[in-house]
Amino acid sequence: MEKFLQIKDLTTRFYTEDGVVYAVNGVSYTLEEGEILGVVGESGCGKTVHALSIMGLIPSPPGKIEKGEVIFDGRDLLQASQGELRDIRGSQIAMVFQDPMTSLNPVFTVGFQITEALSIHKGMGNNEAREVAGDLLEQVGIPGAHSRLDDYPHQFSGGMRQRAMIAMALSCDPKLLIADEPTTALDVTIQAQIVDLVKHLQQDLGMAVMWITHDLGVIAEIAQKINVMYAGYIVERGSVRNIFKRTRHPYTMGLLGSLPRLDEAPGTELLAIPGLPPDLLSLPKGCPFVYRCMYAVDRCLEEMPPLEQTDEKDHTVACWRWKEIISKK
């Protein structure tokens, strides 16, 4: 497998009236062709901002990509011109957003919005594009697809809108699909439909998927690899099994402990993480998790630990004390 997306030291900040928001702080990883990567973290951990940075969609000002490289298919997207980016967005990298109501334009029909991408990127004529758009809607499981092309977004339910968004994203056979909390606004039974759909489409089309979410349950079902983010850093990265079964970072342990287990006895208390996530305007000098971590020592306050290989292949963690912590357990 080829490493077709390589991110090196990506750093994004926002310059606001209140000060500098350290949204993404040196994120590096690679994504292989056809891989499903889960990016997981709580609100404000930088998971969305890092994806928008990759796509060149950070509003500037106030946002600014300070440094880093995003190598996609051999070229650095951060150096690309707006015109080049516009060609890549939609045709090579597509994105599905969280809220399907606000990401569809309410005054145009669903069919028009899908054919728009087809005519821009593939130069299709009206009739051909309409035909393809109908097929796409059918592919994502909308009943009576061809006859619904002239419907407006408000005539679709939440789940159908998200399907239409996915159809739109798939219209130009992207190599990478970035899905930013695509099921968060949906009910569980609809979420199961969408997860199932994306899994099947990924197998059929062989595209890579970056699935951004705060829901560890969904990640366990869909992802092959996981990046756990906290306050703009990747604090742990590994295969889905390593993250869930051989957890090494205290934050990931805390996240998993916060979830009710299926096999728990009645009356079990959840292992909540104390405190609040840090303010991105004034991050601690060292590890951002230091104030909530039960294992923190002086060194954690002073120095940010680098991502280092754990005892497993393909598993890295940013914690000074991971070895001691697992030996204690």
């Binding site: 709580e42 609100s43 009943p143 339910s157 939440g158 789940g159 159908m160 009910d187 569980v188 039974t189 609809i190 979420q191 199961a192 439909q193 997860v195 199932d196 705060h214 829901d215 560890l216 349950g217 969904v218 990640i219 366990a220 079902e221 889905v240 099994r241 869930f244 079964k245 805390g254 996240l255 998993l256 402990g257 916060s258 979830l259 009710p260 299926l262 728990e264 079990t268 208390e269 959840l270 292992l271 909540a272 993480i273 104390p274 609040l276 996530p277």
Partner: protein
């Protein structure tokens, strides 16, 4: 919860229809949104009843109608034998001292112009439960009960995070020493690690104060964690009601089966083995529910009778209620 125990609150055949009017000038009654269409359940003293369902299933409306935030269209609710719907407003305000509510959105449910101290003291003033020094002490006590310090008293809501605001909402609910707290999606807008804090707090308070909860939410695994019994709603009706483990491990109703199978499990080994029951389509509109069983349009087992006749909500085994014609076959 033992069945011999006396229920604290009894809900029978509760209905809430919201009328739809058409026409600009001469408003004509064109139909009803049947948000809640005949639900019955009991909540025992000291237990947590989880009420789950998808968007639009009517779970929030049940909570609100039950405590007369909406006037019910039909039905009966009794609290310790007192019929709430026949009470005059003066008597109802006496009853309100025994019921509190915690809302979903901690940003919208706290008045931004009031200090935390006055937000929590307001119910004490309305019900004339305390004044002066005593009131101050009670507010401080409530704040420490929910894990916040007395430094909060003179601050405003905007200074607090979502989780902290929800704690303030809980403190306000506790101010009147209620018997029953209706928790309307209290954790839905919070981050995972903060959700666990709030759930732990609610459980601790329940143990300390002997509270009874109606816990309304759509996060099924969290509801299962906190509840003793669970009721599953679909399109204004309760489909199944049973002990939390029964519902989770041995769901009887086809809708409950699909719902439970759709819960994502944070464990890759289990996730690999599990099969989702994928439901086709969407929930019908509550303005035009299907004839017969409400779930019949999406049910893979639906037979002719399901499209014709509404199934009775009945006890199919001890303390396990199901509304399905073929419930016995799924046992």
């Amino acid at each position: 919860m033992s069945p011999e125990q006396e229920p604290l609150i009894k809900v029978r055949n509760l209905k809430k229809y919201f009328p739809i009017y058409s026409g600009a000038l001469l408003q004509r009654h064109a139909g009803d949104i049947k948000a809640v269409d005949g639900v019955s359940f009991d909540i025992y003293k000291g237990e947590t009843l989880g009420l789950v369902g998808e968007t639009g299933s009517g779970k929030t409306t049940v909570g609100r109608t039950m405590i007369r935030l909406y006037e019910a269209t039909e039905g009966e609710v009794t609290l310790d034998g007192v019929d709430l719907f026949s009470l005059k407003s003066k008597d109802m305000s006496q009853i309100r001292r025994r019921i509190a509510i915690i809302f979903q959105d901690p940003y919208a449910s706290l008045n931004p112009r009031m200090t935390i101290g006055s937000i929590i003291a307001e119910p004490l003033e309305i019900h004339k439960l305390a004044s002066g020094k005593e009131k101050e002490e009670r507010v401080n006590e409530l704040l420490s009960m929910v894990g916040l310090g007395t430094y909060c008293v003179n601050r405003y809501p905007f200074e607090f995070s979502g989780g902290q605001r929800q704690r303030i909402g809980i403190a306000r609910a506790l101010a009147i020493n209620p018997d029953l707290i209706v928790c309307d999606e209290p954790i839905s807008s919070l981050d995972v690690s903060i959700q666990a804090q709030v759930v732990n707090l609610l459980e601790k308070l329940q143990r300390q104060l002997g509270l009874t909860y109606l816990f309304i939410a759509h996060d099924l695994s969290m509801v299962r964690h906190i509840s003793d019994r669970m009721a599953v709603m679909y399109l204004g009706k309760i489909m199944e009601l049973a002990d939390r483990d029964e519902i989770y491990l041995k769901p009887v109703h086809p809708y409950t089966q699909a719902l439970m199978s759709a819960i994502p499990v944070p464990d890759p080994d289990i996730a690999l083995e599990r099969k989702h029951i994928i439901l086709e389509g969407d929930m019908p509109s509550p303005a035009a529910p299907p004839k017969g069983c409400n779930f019949s349009t999406r049910c893979q087992y639906a037979k002719d009778i399901c499209h014709e006749q509404e199934p009775e909500f009945r006890e199919v085994k001890s303390e396990h209620f199901v509304a399905c014609h073929f419930a016995e076959d799924f046992l």
